[in-house]
């Protein structure tokens, strides 16, 4: 949790430095601050949409079952301003994602940052951390 909070704080700093995130609704209603996650998986789809974009990632569970997780991020333009590019997120790309899971327990989460195979970390601009 400490690590997650540190990441959230780092994300906040980045957002303050770079400006806009696109927030629309209560995140505490939808996501659970008691359910931080760090998951590694393979991109199946990146949906560049507003007001929020979504990354779908196949994550292999301990028993070998593959679950397709949906990660919410900031809007397409917020991601673009943070350096996200379509070519970095092609299907098959392996990502490690820090996120908070949805309260409903489904494989849905709000991403705070992603780690690309080349070691580059991108902040997700998700509705919120530190947006001003």
């Amino acid at each position: 949790m400490t690590v997650v909070r540190a990441l959230a704080a780092a994300a906040a700093l980045v957002v303050i430095a770079t400006g806009a995130a696109f927030a629309h609704h209560s995140f505490s209603a939808e996501y659970d601050d008691k359910k931080p996650l760090k998951l590694t998986g393979t991109v199946t789809t990146m949906k560049w949409s507003n007001p929020h974009a979504w990354i779908y990632v196949d994550v292999k569970e301990k028993g070998g079952k593959v679950v397709n997780w949906a990660f919410e991020t900031g809007g397409a333009n917020a991601l673009y301003r943070r350096g996200w590019r379509k070519e970095d997120l092609a299907p098959g790309t392996v990502l490690t994602i820090d996120a908070f899971q949805a309260r409903n327990g489904k494989p849905t989460a709000n991403a705070t940052s992603i780690l690309l195979p080349d070691g580059k970390r991108l902040f997700a601009g998700s509705s919120a951390p530190g947006a001003k």
């Binding site: 959230a8 906040a12 400006g19 806009a20 995130a21 696109f22 927030a23 629309h24 609704h25 209560s26 995140f27 505490s28 209603a29 939808e30 996501y31 601050d33 949906k47 949409s49 507003n50 007001p51 929020h52 979504w54 949906a70 919410e72 809007g75 333009n77 673009y80 301003r81 908070f100 949805a102 309260r103 409903n104 849905t108 709000n110 998700s126 509705s127 919120a128 951390p129 530190g130 947006a131 001003k132």
Partner: protein, 280 residues
């Protein structure tokens, strides 16, 4: 010709007039100074008539106002805020008791999607000026035009015309402006009262009127103040203030809503809360 038709024609004319300004200002933004090199503040730019030239691309330093106008700590993924209320001096919104109760209700989890901007309605005034998205200011002759990235705009005539009739109610209201020295004063009425002031549901009604003061203090900074008067919600007028900073960059398209999966999730939460109440 009706007043509405005239307004529409005027808007179309201003958009047409704005085209050269758009092409001028949305291209060739120059290059940013090297990292670590502090750019010296340049004086306020001037138009040929001597009025300040405030045109350009701006991002407000809204200090978390979109998540609460008063000073507040971060709450999970909802950012904290430094507090932008400068009057009353205690930094608190002078809400009437019913408004305090309504605002508490608006932050319940089952109302997580009730903010009108979540449904792509425009943010209103003054919220349009502090949502965390940039804006582009144009100054065609006789007007100030503010293009907000969140698919909204304000066309502000400077010719002294009166407001539209009181019966016309608008999400962004009807704004008229004038220069007082170097300060652009914008007077806004005819608001519809349907907007929220931020994601935590701070309140305005259809009785809201706003006086905004934009004072450029150097070539890249505007001091922004807005005084909101709304006797249905507040016991007295109140004022917020923050800087607007000129930035390199362009407006990007925000096609709200292309696809929002939150709606389904938040409906589940609302329905569960309602079912819980029914059981009680």
């Amino acid at each position: 010709m009706t007043r509405t038709t005239r307004t529409l024609l005027a808007t179309a004319m201003v958009v047409a007039l704005a085209a050269p300004w758009l092409s001028q200002h949305l291209s060739g933004q120059g290059t940013a100074p090297p990292a670590g090199e502090q750019k010296a503040k340049e004086p306020v730019r001037r138009l040929p008539d001597g009025k300040p030239d405030i045109s350009g691309h701006y991002q407000s330093d809204g200090g978390g106002a979109n998540y609460g106008l008063e000073k507040h700590p971060q709450d999970f993924l909802t950012p904290g805020g430094r507090g932008v209320v400068i009057d009353p001096p205690d930094g608190k919104l002078p809400m009437l008791p019913w408004a305090v109760a309504e605002q508490k209700n608006r932050v319940l989890p089952e109302r997580g999607y009730d903010d009108p901007t979540a449904h792509c309605f425009v943010a209103g005034v003054p919220r349009s000026m502090y949502v965390p998205s940039p804006m582009h200011i144009l100054q065609p002759p006789g007007y100030v035009v503010i293009l907000h990235e969140r698919m909204a705009w304000r066309v502000i005539p400077l010719d002294g015309r009166p407001h539209v009739p009181d019966s016309i109610r608008l999400w962004q209201g009807d704004s008229v402006g004038r220069w007082e020295g170097d300060t652009l004063v914008i007077d806004t009425k005819n608001l519809n009262g349907k907007t929220w002031l931020n994601e935590v549901g701070e309140i305005v009604s259809h009785a809201e009127t706003v006086v905004e003061r934009l004072t450029p203090v150097d070539a890249d900074t505007i001091n922004y103040e807005a005084t909101v008067t709304d006797p249905l919600v507040y016991s007295r007028p109140w004022t917020i203030a923050f800087p607007m900073n000129r930035q390199e960059g362009d407006l990007l398209e925000v096609a709200c809503h292309e696809d929002d999966e939150d709606l389904a999730h938040l409906k589940e939460i609302r329905d569960a809360a309602r079912a819980g109440r029914a059981r009680r």
